[in-house]
């Protein structure tokens, strides 16, 4: 127990120290080299800016987080459902796969301006684009996960008289879960980028919008402050997914 806590402590402490060291060097270079802050602000500058501007950053950060979560769910749910159908029924595979591959081939981010025309400055384009982009990797991992069920398990469930729901709940879903979570872990980070980019292109709120405003006034310090907030959101969300994995998949705690 103590050993485990010590190990976790080290796992957190070591990267934190590395990171802190890097910031100190950064600070030193900027101060000694007298680099102007519109080119590269010192860490102390933008950290102070976060404290100073915390209300604005919190508001836009919350907007962005909300869009990430909505968009991720809007992509994950159809990804999982279609993934199951494609893995399970050949007909679905034949009907749906070409469509899915077409969506994947589309450079979806180019749809953002088009959506500005269609939907204006609403939340809908952000959610839709994030969903379109997160959908595919989640679907691919779900297909792989559901396909990894040994067909002889179906012999066992059929001879047990298991219903569709029982087979899904007791065998298929838990078998596919590790692959599904690995899809989630990759996609949640992608979703952060997508939302910020779309906000940057067409929005009147969110971190991406804040970056745009900062650029207008050459406020580099604010851009770095947004960067810190944005990556914090990314780290927190991927940690949340990892926590959910540990909660739902306790047998993987090896």
């Amino acid at each position: 127990m103590i050993a485990a806590a010590a190990r976790t402590g080290r796992a957190v402490l070591e990267p934190a120290l590395w990171f802190a060291g890097l910031l100190v060097i950064w600070e030193g270079v900027v101060r000694l080299g007298e680099v102007p802050s519109f080119l590269l602000p010192a860490p102390s500058d933008f950290l102070a800016r976060i404290a100073e501007d915390h209300a604005r950053l919190a508001y836009h950060g919350a907007q962005t987080t909300k869009m990430i979560v909505y968009g991720f769910i809007a992509g994950a749910v159809p990804g999982l459902v279609l993934g199951y159908m494609i893995a399970r029924w050949r007909l679905c595979e034949q009907l749906l796969y070409p469509l899915v591959v077409f969506i994947q081939g589309l450079p979806k981010i180019t749809l953002a301006p088009l959506m500005l025309v269609w939907f204006g400055f609403s939340d809908f384009p952000k959610i839709l684009l994030t969903a379109l982009i997160t959908f595919f990797p989640i679907l691919v991992d779900a297909v792989a996960g559901f396909r990894s069920v040994d067909r002889r398990h179906y012999y066992l469930t059929r001879s047990t008289g298991a219903s569709w729901w029982q087979t899904f709940r007791f065998i298929e879903l838990p078998t596919a879960a590790p692959a599904i979570f690995s899809g989630f872990k990759i996609t949640i980070v992608v979703a952060v980028t997508v939302v910020i980019v779309v906000e940057w292109l067409n929005s009147n709120n969110g971190l991406g919008y804040l970056v745009l405003r900062a650029m207008d006034s050459s406020d580099t310090t604010l851009i770095f402050a947004v960067l810190v907030v944005g990556s914090t959101i990314g780290v927190v969300l991927s940690y949340a997914v990892a926590l959910a994995e540990r909660w739902f998949l306790p047998w993987r705690r090896r």
Partner: protein, 272 residues
């Protein structure tokens, strides 16, 4: 030896079922690419009998098992269990494959109790049966371990417990010890025999091993390939329980020799 809990609990343990099959045939696919996997074969297995199917790879042993349990439809012929013709998968059956096929996300006991959950049987009663089976199979203490924490032999024991916990009328085993080391195999063979002597389930045991077939069965059906057919039936008249070291019986080598000779005649073995 400490007193064992009886395996027969309030369920009033079910005895083995009879299995009969006539002209049993299986052809996979159709047209020119059709593959004639099995038959026609006839089977007549008495309730509580231990019958082995032995033969080279691809002789349709596993197919026979899937047809007899109703998991694969027959191409021709019919199967009846206890006189009832089979049209759908039967549920009074326990199946053990060569791989343990345990769910990695369930503990040993929960893998066994999945039967209870799916079948909606009484929990306490099933748990008592599972405990008794764990005791018989030397699994006591392993209840809360995950499959990856168990040895290959123990995993296969858990899958035997899973196949028996719901008190089926027949046990279908497809090369259940094929993936085990020689030492585990001898032990688990003995344990299975003891369990069978106590419960008298009808067992259809598929194997490549002459030693297993002779060591366990009342009757050995020797099969040939393409298409799979039963070429010889050998009744094994040896007292039970049979010793771990079968060489103690001079009859054992006679039986083994007979099966060996059939294989040689069929061209399964080609010695120079």
């Amino acid at each position: 030896m400490n007193a064992l809990q009886p395996l027969r609990t309030a369920t009033g343990s079910t005895r083995g079922a009879s299995i009969t099959a006539h002209n049993l045939t299986k052809v996979y696919g159709s047209g020119p690419s059709a593959f004639h996997a099995l038959g026609p074969i006839d089977l007549d297995i008495a309730p509580g009998e231990f019958v082995s199917l032995i033969g080279p790879s691809g002789c349709g042993k596993s197919t026979t098992m899937l047809l007899v349990s109703g998991l694969e439809p027959v191409s021709d012929g019919s199967v009846a269990v206890d006189g009832r013709p089979l049209t759908a998968p039967i549920s009074e059956v326990g199946i053990v494959f060569q791989d343990h096929l345990l769910l990695e996300f369930r503990t040993a006991m929960n893998n066994v109790m999945l039967q209870q959950q799916i079948r909606g049987l009484g929990r306490a009663e099933m748990r008592a049966r599972a405990d008794a089976l764990f005791e018989r199979l030397g699994l006591t203490g392993a209840e809360d371990r995950y499959p990856w924490q168990l040895s290959g032999g123990m995993r296969q024991r858990v899958s035997i417990a899973r196949a028996l916990v719901h008190d089926p009328t027949m046990l279908l085993m497809d090369e259940p010890f094929g993936a085990l080391d020689a030492i585990s195999r001898t032990q688990i063979r003995h344990d299975l025999e003891m369990l069978w002597m106590e419960t008298k389930k009808t067992v259809l045991f598929i194997t490549h091993s002459i030693e297993e077939a002779v060591g366990l069965s009342d009757r050995v059906l020797v099969m040939s390939t393409s298409p799979g057919r039963i070429v010889e039936e050998i009744r094994i008249d040896l007292p039970r329980p049979r010793p771990a070291h079968l060489g103690e019986y001079p009859e054992f080598s006679t039986y083994a020799r007979r099966i060996f000779d059939i294989f040689e005649k069929l061209g399964v073995y080609r010695f120079k």
